[in-house]
């Protein structure tokens, strides 16, 4: 056993945590900087812009690194959003806590005041929650339009000139200005091919995925404190031509290749059933909600919206109106232009050319399907089956070779398949190669590997059960009414996309395309993030106003708590600590304001970083001054929450020297998920406090001897 004290002088654990978290700073906010992760030994590299993938790819051998990774993964598993916030706050709060320790605040006090402070803030921000019900009047308001493809329909209403959207409540709306980069540096040649704004061709439109070009819809300014916020309904997002450009335009590395795809070729692939971007954005509540939750990923969110519409169509017949995220799968087609990205009912996957020939034979007629929950190999056995090692088979006749057992099995399997007239098999695991060949010869299409989601969608949809072994197959286990066809006439890397559909199946596939192969993963992640944001908003039935409103309220609330703590210096708020008897309760007032300040500094840094990252401000300092300005205004107000809501509704106009050329652009509404945000805060603080309270690392097992001989051995005590 080796034992290391981690609490000497400055807390090592917190320092580790803070430096690990600092790598995620540029990932915060809607405008992210991509990161390359390069493995020095193998020269393999990965492109990422999410906290989860970043931590996954890092070699986190330290205990603190592992804890951080576990925390991020847990948030990801549960909510799929809020991980970057979590990562950032972990860093900011570790620094803040280190600061407290330097000021000799007793550790236990830091723990209890911080956790009580967060608790109080989480309660406080509830008053900012907006009911989704008010924002979105139910599934009926979702228009279904598969065919409309009229481009460039402009929705301009209530045009109020000079409603500058520069705000930090609306950082997105802000991006197009104040960017101190010359057009030439940023956009070599491409921008000239499609000028962003008819008003000003020189508009420095960096943020291509923001639809702020020629379609502008300002929001109505509503009276303060109106929680239903009809103003939101008035504002609109417009699917501009630029939506199909990708986030990668912001990358320092990949600027030009992506740009070349920007020119709009919307109508080239008209056969897609539902096309994002192709259909103009309809002016409706639901679309507003979805777009406000997209946080800059409009193109992904459009796909999500289309999925929802698609599900609504099916639900119309089935009578359910929820966003069923469990029956959504993605199919990634790297190398294709993003214009191909779309949503299709049914299952779409890539198959090899041999299988494509079978597909050709099988299209245009209903097929019999078999679902296999395992491998299709002779040696495969279900989970939990232990093969005995001491059984050997002897044979009396020489003719029976050992290799023949497989061919017997294949013949038998094929017999079963042919007898039960199966044309299509979905297999979860691997398939024996020889059997696969024989099936192709017999015009039986085997698709593998297939995820559980797909298998069970078919199980549910066509009412046929899964089997583990072919020997289980009888007529009850073969489904019918399944159709297979090619999905467009494409070939990618020698593979062909096919689609499998059946009556009654709810499965929807989002086909995701990206010209840059290394960006495929990012695109897929972004799609899921959007999907889950919408899903959580609909399940929570409430959203937060985004763009920093919630954090600002926390800051003002903490300021209030701080003042209170100074005022009632002589009262002991009993029960505030777990151990109310301790002397810490008595000295609480002495330190409380320091700790609350530390807690506030986390959110403060978060806000200024988001604003800095969205390029609205030249420095974090400038952003921070701006926050202080608003914080003061909010705190001076009798009700900070209504002040913030008001500002959110109109989009704070801050700078008077707004560039005139962009006076028309309008603030986007931004919404955040409620539960995942508050949970991300809590998890971040929990991790920091957990590491803070840890004073020693105990390493058990064989690692001890390695440590004994290593150069760090002086740090350890060996027992």
């Amino acid at each position: 056993m080796a034992f290391r004290n981690v609490n000497r002088r400055r807390h090592i654990g917190l320092q580790q945590l803070s430096s690990l978290a600092s790598i995620g700073r540029t990932l915060l906010g809607p405008v992210k900087s991509y990161k390359f992760i390069v493995d020095v030994s193998t020269s393999e590299s990965a492109l990422t812009c999410s906290a989860v993938r970043l931590l996954e790819s890092l070699d986190l051998t330290s205990a603190v690194g592992q804890l951080l990774n576990e925390t991020i993964q847990a948030q990801n598993k549960e909510y799929k959003t809020g991980m970057t916030t979590l990562l950032f706050l972990v860093g900011a709060w570790s620094n803040a806590v280190l600061e407290c320790l330097q000021q000799n605040v007793p550790l236990s006090l830091v723990v209890s005041v911080m956790s009580e402070g967060l608790n109080s803030c989480s309660e406080k921000v509830k008053c900012l929650q907006l009911s989704v019900h008010d924002l979105y009047k139910g599934p009926k308001s979702v228009p279904i339009h598969f065919s409309s493809r009229s481009l460039g329909s402009q929705i301009t209403e209530n045009k109020v000139p000079n409603t500058g959207s520069n705000s930090f409540l609306n950082p997105l709306g802000n991006i197009i200005k104040d960017i101190p980069v010359s057009k030439e540096e940023c956009f070599p040649e491409s921008l000239h091919s499609h000028q962003a704004s008819p008003c000003d061709p020189h508009d420095r439109c960096l943020n291509s995925h923001l639809c702020i070009s020629d379609n502008i819809t300002p929001s109505l300014v509503e009276p303060v404190g109106n929680k239903t916020m009809p103003a939101v309904l008035g504002s609109s997002l417009i699917a501009s031509n630029f939506n199909k450009r990708t986030k990668l335009t912001h990358s320092r590395y990949f600027n030009t290749p992506e740009k070349s795809h920007c020119p709009l070729q919307t109508d080239n692939f008209g056969s897609a059933p539902i096309r994002p971007g192709a259909c103009p954005y309809e002016f409706n509540d639901f679309g507003q909600l979805a777009m406000a939750l997209s946080h800059g990923n409009q193109s992904s969110m459009k796909l999500v919206q289309d999925i929802f519409r698609c599900q609504q169509q099916i639900a119309e017949r089935k009578g359910s109106s929820q966003f069923n995220i469990a029956e959504v799968v993605t199919c990634c087609l790297p190398g294709l232009s993003e214009n191909y990205s779309c949503v299709c009912p049914g299952y779409i996957t890539l198959v090899s050319p041999e299988k494509a020939t079978v597909t050709k034979q099988l299209r245009d007629r209903p097929l019999q399907i078999l679902l296999i929950d395992g491998d299709l190999r002779e040696k495969y056995r279900h989970l939990g089956f232990n093969r005995p090692s001491n059984v050997s088979t002897i044979s009396e006749s020489v003719a029976l070779q050992e290799s023949s057992s497989e061919s017997i099995w294949i013949n038998c399997a094929l017999d079963i398949l042919i007898q039960s007239k199966v044309n299509l098999i979905l297999v979860k695991g691997n398939v024996c190669e020889n059997l696969m060949e024989r099936c192709i010869l017999n015009n039986i299409l085997i698709i593998n590997p297939v995820t559980d989601t797909v298998l069970h969608a078919f199980e549910k949809g066509i009412g046929v059960q899964l089997v583990t072994y072919l020997s289980q197959v009888n007529s009850h286990y073969v489904g019918s009414g399944v159709w297979v066809d090619f999905w467009k006439t494409l070939e990618l890397d020698n593979k062909v996309p096919v689609s499998i559909k059946a009556e009654g199946i709810h499965l929807v596939t989002a086909v995701l395309c990206s010209t840059v192969t290394s960006k495929m993963q990012v695109t897929e992640d972004q799609f899921w993030t959007c999907a889950y944001r919408l899903y959580h908003a609909l399940t929570d039935q409430k959203v937060f106003p985004g763009g920093g409103a919630v954090e600002l309220l926390c800051l003002s609330h903490l300021q209030k708590l701080e003042e209170q703590s100074l005022k009632q210096a002589d009262k002991y708020p009993s029960g505030e600590l777990h151990m109310s008897s301790c002397w810490l309760t008595k000295s609480l007032t002495q330190y409380k304001s320091v700790v609350l300040k530390a807690l506030a500094s986390g959110w403060h840094q978060y806000l200024s970083r988001v604003m800095y990252n969205t390029a609205s401000y030249e420095s974090e300092f400038e952003a921070s001054t701006f926050i202080d300005h608003h914080l003061k205004k909010a705190t001076d107000c009798s009700s900070p929450s209504s002040y913030i809501l008001k500002e959110f509704n109109k989009g704070i106009k801050v700078m008077d020297d707004v560039d005139l050329s962009i006076k028309q652009e309008e603030a986007l509404k931004i919404y955040d998920n409620v539960t995942s945000k508050v949970e991300a805060w809590r998890r971040a603080l929990d991790l920091v406090l957990l590491v803070l309270q840890t004073d020693a690392e105990i390493i058990t097992g064989p690692k001890r001897n390695q440590l004994l001989n290593s150069h760090t051995s002086s740090e350890f005590t060996f027992v």
Binding site: E116, H382, M579, S581, W583, D686, T694, I699
Partner: protein
């Protein structure tokens, strides 16, 4: 070819305690356990340094289970503490700290070990006698008519483990749940032989703590993808479902084939033979009108298919921990063979439903006579969940011990300081007869008693981790903490707020002194005659039985360690 090596001679060490390595190891171990103690105790990261699971904990069971101590003396100590924990769950750190301090303090006075042993045994017995007597001033009787004391007991246990990461609301919510779950396991009618039911903890990780809940009956999670194929259960009568419980694998493998080679002729498949046997079993189950088959391990897909075709519900892979409560709840005998099923081994259920909690799906097995309940326990991550689960189990165990002996000791260090004052007083007024009986001088007795009291007070001092100072009052002998660095001439009563257990508030006449400073012995007064005792909401309480045992184990183990004169180690 095997090689025969000559046996190495055994290694013999005499007077092991005088060796540096032993005292060093002991001090490291005592440092670890001391720093973990109490609600503000520091946590430890426990991992293998090679990317394995990181456990953050301050629980004695996790710590001692995770430590790989090599020295026999340390092994002796950890083994007896672990044994205490396995019997009582609670007070493990108390036992370990007390044992370490006793060894340290007794070593310092440097007497013949037999004298120390004799005197400390006598001190121990007077402690235990005092604790068990009506006159004891640091215990409360637990009133089962109100849940206040019980809640305090549970809350104190939860609060003492900060790695659970609960805030105040969550802690009181979980305390209520634990108590509720415990009450569900108490039989309604009391006969001569009372058997408590069981509370099964259902793990739900990555969720919020406030989503935890308690339900009567047993909940078994249904994998998401099995939901599609659920059908109504077959019943024998409207309120009876016949069920069979298997504790062997029904996966169709040959697990019980034994050692040694088995030779099979070509064309004969053992697997098919076993599967046939399984299907025969299935046939019998169907004939016997069984509606539900539960298996601890895996059921063969073909058997599942067969049973499903005959409308029998199967639940497999429930795990060993579920078998006992299942069999207790349904009255079924766990079946361990594929053949010769006797109809007596079937059990019965009142109802079987599917329910949806915390966005997961569960089978809800409802027994006729509810004595089993399920605690769905949620916490935000695996690590915190592990810690919380352990605390819940401890709390449940403590409640069970308390129902057997309805007493509780004052927590927060007050019992230790009170007991130390009592022993100080007792040893100063010792009769010569007793000294003769244990064959020692008054000075000897006094020195050992002082070391004993110092050790007890040392345990109390370990509750303070933020450089505070500990005081004790000269009336009740309770524990009071104050900020350090106070001026020497200040009034104590300006500094103190409440005593450790929360019974006494600041009173002018209490006459404080710094703990472990020499003072005139006094008879500590009892708290039990205070009318406000049961009215106070937030008392810190400890489990009586566990603490008494901890005290005994610590003293006995310390004596044993001091008594070691040789260690003989086998080197082979």
């Amino acid at each position: 070819m095997s090689r025969i090596e000559a046996k190495k001679p055994s290694l013999c060490t005499d007077k092991p305690l005088t060796k540096d390595v032993v005292s060093f190891s002991l001090s490291v171990l005592s440092g670890i356990v001391k720093s973990c103690y109490g609600p503000t105790g520091r946590l430890k990261q426990l991992h293998n340094g090679m990317g394995g699971y990181v456990r953050i904990t301050s629980q004695s069971s996790a710590l001692l289970g995770g430590l790989s101590v090599t020295h026999p003396v340390l092994n002796l100590l950890t083994a007896s503490v672990k044994n205490h924990i396995s019997r009582f769950s609670d007070c493990g750190l108390f036992t370990a700290i007390l044992c370490c301090s006793l060894v340290e303090n007794f070593q310092r006075i440097n007497f013949e070990s037999s004298t120390v042993t004799k005197i400390s045994r006598h001190l121990l017995s007077s402690c235990i006698d005092y604790l068990k007597s009506e006159a004891c001033g640091c215990r409360l009787s637990v009133d089962f008519d109100s849940i206040k004391t019980l809640l305090s007991l549970v809350r104190s246990i939860l609060a003492s483990k900060p790695a659970c990461m609960l805030n105040k609301t969550e802690a009181s919510y979980i305390s209520t749940l634990i108590l509720k779950a415990f009450l569900l396991t108490i039989p309604h009618s009391v006969e001569t032989n009372v058997v408590l039911g069981k509370c099964v903890i259902v793990p739900v990780k990555d969720k919020r703590v406030m989503e935890s809940a308690v339900y009567p009956g047993l909940l078994i999670e249904i994998p998401v993808f099995q939901l599609a194929s659920i059908f109504p259960v077959k019943r024998v009568s409207s309120s009876t479902i016949k069920m069979a419980l298997f504790c062997i694998s029904l996966s169709g493998d040959l697990s019980n084939i034994g050692d040694g080679p088995v030779i099979v002729h070509h064309g004969i498949s053992l697997e098919v033979a076993v599967l046939d046997q399984l299907l025969n079993l299935g046939k019998q189950l169907v004939n016997d009108q069984v509606g539900l088959v539960v298996c601890q391990k895996v059921i063969h897909p073909s058997l599942k298919q067969y049973l499903k075709e005959h409308r029998v519900i199967t639940i497999d892979r429930v795990g060993l921990s579920m078998v006992e409560p299942l069999s207790q709840m349904t009255g079924s005998q766990p079946i361990a063979a594929l053949h010769s099923l006797s109809p007596t081994c079937y059990g019965s259920l009142k109802d079987l439903r599917t329910e949806n909690f915390v966005s997961k799906h569960f089978w809800h097995l409802i027994p006729n006579d509810i004595l089993v309940c399920s605690l769905i326990l949620c916490n935000r991550n695996e690590m915190a969940w592990d810690e919380l689960k352990h605390v819940c189990q401890t709390a449940e165990h403590v409640l069970q011990l308390t129902i057997k002996q309805p007493l509780a000791l004052l927590g927060g260090g007050c019992t230790e300081t009170h007991l130390a004052s009592y022993i100080k007083h007792k040893s100063s007024t010792l009769s010569t007869g007793i000294l003769k009986a244990i064959d020692c001088s008054q000075t000897q007795y006094q020195l050992v008693a002082d070391a004993f009291c110092r050790s007890l007070e040392c345990v109390a001092c370990c509750l303070e981790h933020d450089d505070g100072e500990i005081l004790t009052d000269m009336v009740y002998g309770h524990f009071w903490s104050v900020q350090s660095g106070f001026p020497s001439d200040c009034n104590w009563s300006d500094l103190v707020l409440k005593c450790g257990c929360g019974i006494y508030n600041n009173q002018r006449n209490l006459n404080w002194t710094v703990l472990q400073r020499q003072c005139i012995p006094f008879i500590p007064q009892s708290c039990s005659n205070r009318p406000s005792v049961n009215a106070t909401d937030h008392l810190v309480l400890d489990c009586f039985t566990a603490k008494c045992s901890g005290l005994q184990v610590a003293v006995e183990t310390a004596n044993l360690i001091l008594d070691l004169s040789y260690i003989v180690e086998d080197q082979n």
